[in-house]
Subunit: 384 residues, 2 copies
């Protein structure tokens, strides 16, 4: 096991009806800005439920945080929050809203252009406190300290991490996910699956617990993902998916082990240049990445084949092939296509994708820093 530091202070309020408990988690007298995305939290009544819980606070609203939240939109929220002297933020939505709210929280007290926090890794030394009400299990943002922000003007999609950006609390009410469109449910399952893969499918580090936990989360996604699509109002299924997606990226399974994240980096460029959903990009890139990196990942791929897919018989290389095929088929069973061509993207798109990676400095990715631009190109080609 590698040395690690682990701390995750986010308070999780899990279960049906927990929105009613949020007032006790916010400092009395706070001026609260509720942030959200499109109209779904309005239509489903979740926003009204949140506002009812906050009836003793001064509340402002900022709507319109988009999937792959943009700097351009978020800076409008920053202006509103500064103007109204907001001192607590409450994100109501999925990972994009929560990621965007993390940016707002750090940007409000930031001196200078907040984009520097991402592009120039400028130090984040203060942030406004915030909580979240999660409506879409997928990214894990509700219990971690990271965010990914897109700048439309320059086609950049960049991540930042800071310990000031853990939510103070997050409400996980599985019943709030009953009405999600199937595409979002499926995307969430794929997103969580690939988060786990990035922390698990690397090389052995004598970290038995982290491996078992990762495998347990993957098995749960494989069992519950398709059921969530078939039985959208099955509370137990939704509860398992919701807690799995949170634990997939809260620092626990990644503590003390090597991590990859090359699939995410290649995926980000697909979203920026072609507008694919984040999870769609992961479904496209991961199987190809595993194939291209199969020698480096051999031991863990064999373990994955056995413990996650039950493949114990026959030639080792064939088991690895089969595990990658099963991974692809699992994504496709959720109606998430896994080929660039399925999204109308031809091979001529690959050179510009690789050029974007180069521009973003993504020239030595993966747990061994061995995914250079040539390998990245191979991955895109294999995903064609």
């Amino acid at each position: 096991m590698q040395n690690f530091t682990f701390q995750n202070p986010t308070r999780i309020l899990f279960g049906e009806g927990r929105i009613a408990d949020i007032a006790a988690e916010i400092p009395a007298g706070a001026r609260v800005l509720i942030t959200y995305g499109g109209g779904s939290v309005v239509r489903t009544g979740t926003l009204d439920e949140v506002k009812a819980a906050l009836k003793n606070f001064t509340v402002f609203e900022f709507a319109g945080i988009e999937p792959n939240p943009t700097y351009e939109t978020l800076m409008e929220a920053v202006a509103l929050a500064r103007r109204e002297k907001v001192d607590f933020l409450l994100a109501v939505g999925g990972g994009s809203v929560i990621d965007g709210t993390k940016f707002i929280a750090a940007a409000i007290p930031f001196a200078g252009d907040p984009w520097d926090m991402l592009a120039k890794r400028a130090a984040v030394t203060r942030a406004i406190a915030f909580g979240s009400v999660l409506t879409l299990p997928a990214t894990g943002s509700e219990m971690n300290n990271g965010a990914v922000i897109t700048r439309r003007a320059s086609s950049d999609k960049l991540a930042f991490l800071n310990d000031l950006l853990f939510p103070r609390f997050s409400v996980l009410d599985p019943s709030k996910t009953f009405t999600l469109p199937p595409r979002q449910v499926a995307n969430g399952v794929v997103d969580a699956f690939v988060h786990i893969a990035e922390q698990y499918l690397t090389y052995p580090a004598d970290a038995k617990v982290q491996d078992r936990f990762a495998e347990g989360l993957l098995l749960t996604l494989i069992e519950e993902g398709p059921r969530a699509l078939r039985e959208p109002e099955n509370y137990a299924v939704r509860a398992n998916l919701m807690w799995t997606a949170t634990l997939a990226l809260n620092g626990l399974i990644g503590a003390g082990v090597p991590q990859d994240w090359a699939t995410h980096m290649l995926g980000h460029e697909l979203t920026v240049l072609h507008g694919l959903d984040h999870a769609q990009t992961l479904a496209v890139v991961l199987p190809a990445m595993l194939q291209v990196q199969r020698a480096e990942k051999r031991d863990k791929l064999l373990q994955y084949a056995e413990r996650v897919w039950g493949l114990r018989e026959g030639d080792a290389e064939a088991r690895i092939d089969q595990a990658i095929v099963r991974t692809r088929l699992f994504f496709e069973s959720l109606q998430v296509p896994t080929r660039l061509s399925d999204y109308g993207i031809g091979v001529e798109a690959i050179a510009p994708l690789v050029a974007q990676l180069k521009r973003h400095g993504m020239v030595a990715l993966g747990e061994h820093r061995s995914v250079d631009l040539a390998r990245a190109q191979q991955v895109y080609e294999l995903a064609a």
Copy 2:
């Protein structure tokens, strides 16, 4: 899944050499009281290493916290801490030292007799901040908010929990466990195993992740426990055991599921009246408890038989029997006997044990509150 609230703010510094990092975790200028047990942390040099890391602090020492830490001893530390105006505690040792330090932390600012925090559930509203350097993986106290304290004068062994009693940080350096006596290593494995069992072997609650995590921890103990005895200086093995014992009781696998803890309550009386090590009591009680409660625990026992012991064939009742036998044999393989008679305790001891349970109000234990005094007696008899 049941509704739950989960928050665990303890910062874990894991790995070889991490004692050197503790100074940064303690407020500058703090007056620090180092608490420890017998001479082992002196002999091994761990205490010197801690003091070297604290060279810029005013440091006091309190030695002599015993296994099953007593009110009587701990109140001496409280007096010292009050006299010297200590404002940070640092426990160096195993679960007993950390539990004892939690009591000291809460007792220092307590008005009245601190024993009331346990015996009368008096409100704990303040506590001195503290950290820990763990030298014995077993109880999980290094990352939870609970403690068990014994009062010698009245033969009481009682638990208390409070969110102010999470350590600010805990150092987990696996190499510090190389020199542990085999008996303590074995006890630690049994203790962690039974902590998991108390949260896992109850009844199904549609909590797939918690089940998978619990199973992953049990499998790791089964693989690594015997190896730690055979290869005491195998760092990877010690690291896996250490992280497993911490995760066995940090709130994670118990969130959203029913919990039992009857085995612990019956075990406490064995320690108080007969002086058995805590883990020895658990090794004696658990197999008998599973047998007596086998109807209530049937579904989970079958799952345990399959996923932890690989028992998939044959009659269900036989599989349950076999799983209980395997549990017992596992404890015995670690040289921890599982019968009262192995410790020289005869059947005449049972009535006084049951009387103690009655005196402590332990008359409706277990996840269904169905372990009454008659059942408790049955358990002790079966363990004879």
